[in-house]
């Protein structure tokens, strides 16, 4: 959205709550001052006044427009400042930008979501969106892996999904502790567990770059076709407007042509798959 026809202007949003998901991850609950809505998979540029901005994919339901949830991991300069913010302050939002998940094309299909690490934030938003159209879907399966049990955020999500008709959710960890009694191994090991009709299925992969690569290779081996796999290729988005050049991935501007791509669209890019 544009403020007064100026594409660079942010809208202001009041921070009403900060939820600590883990020692390094917080979810910010924001109330935008202007009307704001997004499609699941799109991203926003969230700014701290006078400090900087960074791209995030909202983790809340796209059907809820009065407030917005953004999950932020503390990794650098801007996110460190964000983690110091207390409710009551204003943040800036530019967006929403990019191409989100085309969920209308998932009608009548089985949706397999393969997620890892920080990828659970955008996946959560996608799950809300899919829940709202579940009557049109055959089933939704989530296979998610985190490094350790503590790294898995939104823990109640898995129980809730397993109690929702047409939804199945599986978790695994790379590195188990004594108390963990679930699956151990990377997210792709969960693919050995599930029953899915690949011919009538869509796969969504979302997570760190290593996971995107391994996950896609495994899905292709399983029999998924190139245009059945959706990848969220978040890459250093900066202006969000297809202009500043920072997110260029081959001939694509990730901020405009993505961040959601089918494998078919980007399989020829050696930078990603070499």
């Amino acid at each position: 959205m544009q403020v007064n026809g100026n594409i660079y202007n942010p809208i202001k949003a009041r921070l009403i709550d900060v939820i600590e998901e883990s020692p390094s991850i917080k979810t910010f609950v924001l109330v935008p001052e202007n009307e704001f809505s997004f499609k699941t998979g799109q991203f926003i540029e969230l700014s701290v006044d006078g400090i900087g901005e960074a791209p995030f994919t909202p983790s809340s339901s796209p059907l809820v427009t009065e407030k917005l949830e953004v999950t932020v991991m503390k990794t650098g300069y801007v996110t460190e400042y964000m983690h110091m913010l207390k409710p009551g302050v204003f943040m800036g939002i530019r967006g929403p930008y990019g191409r989100g998940y085309p969920i209308e094309t998932f009608y009548g299909k089985e949706v397999l979501i393969l997620g890892g690490g920080c990828g659970l934030a955008p996946i959560r938003s996608l799950l809300f969106a899919l829940e709202s159209i579940k009557n049109k879907l055959v089933k939704v399966i989530l296979c998610y892996g985190s490094k350790t049990p503590a790294d898995c955020i939104y823990k109640p999500l898995f129980d809730r999904l397993n109690n929702t008709e047409k939804f199945e959710a599986y978790r695994t960890v790379d590195n188990a502790d004594e108390e963990w009694d679930g699956s151990v191994g990377v997210a792709t090991t969960l693919l050995n567990k599930i029953k899915i009709n690949i011919k009538n299925s869509i796969a969504v992969v979302c997570g760190p770059p290593v996971m995107m690569k391994f996950g896609t290779i495994r899905l292709l081996e399983m029999g998924y076709k190139d245009d059945q796999i959706y990848l969220s290729m978040e890459k250093n988005m900066s202006c969000g407007l297809g202009k500043c050049g920072h997110c260029m991935m081959g001939e694509f501007f990730v901020c405009k042509d993505g961040p959601v791509f089918t494998y078919n669209e980007i399989k020829h890019n050696p930078e990603i798959w070499k």
Partner: protein
């Protein structure tokens, strides 16, 4: 206790075998049951059977010392493990432990190899499946390692 052909067909590892080939497995295998914390085999044990997990939950890992077990993975229903039984020197690369009441199909490795000699097509199909199992295990392990080394 033996499985029927129909029951075997519903186990993932046995996809795409003919009924005749499934009969071979039935002839040379038996069902074994384990309780929580039962060790199926230790790392470095000599193995004479390959297993397919039918129901239950199994962890695998390596040991730094007898008491210090590092859990590295879990096995899913329908997956084959203990493949070292068909390759010399037949020594296990990991320990496997049951996490809950578990049933596995135990296939006599020596008898399986004798069947390969009689039926090359069956032998090739089976070894290809075992190779793929190992390949996936290796790829997942590398992925797991990469996760530890990178963000």
């Amino acid at each position: 206790m033996k499985l029927t052909i129909e029951e075997l067909k519903s186990v993932r590892f046995f996809d795409n075998y003919t009924d005749e080939q499934l009969k071979i497995f039935i002839r040379i295998s038996s069902i074994k049951e384990f309780n929580v914390k039962d060790i199926l085999f230790e790392q470095y044990d000599e193995l004479s059977e390959i297993y397919v997990l039918l129901t239950g939950c199994l962890s695998l890992g390596i040991s730094l010392a007898k008491e210090k077990r590092i859990r590295l993975g879990t096995l899913e229903e329908g997956q084959l493990f203990s493949w070292s039984a068909v390759f010399s020197p037949h020594i296990s690369t990991a320990w496997v432990m049951a996490g809950c009441p578990t049933k596995v199909l135990a296939i006599d490795a020596k008898k399986l190899i004798q069947e390969f000699d009689k039926n090359c097509e069956f032998g090739f199909k089976t070894m290809s499946k075992i190779a793929q199992t190992i390949s996936h295990r290796l790829s997942d392990t590398r992925f797991q390692l990469m996760n530890q080394l990178t963000l």
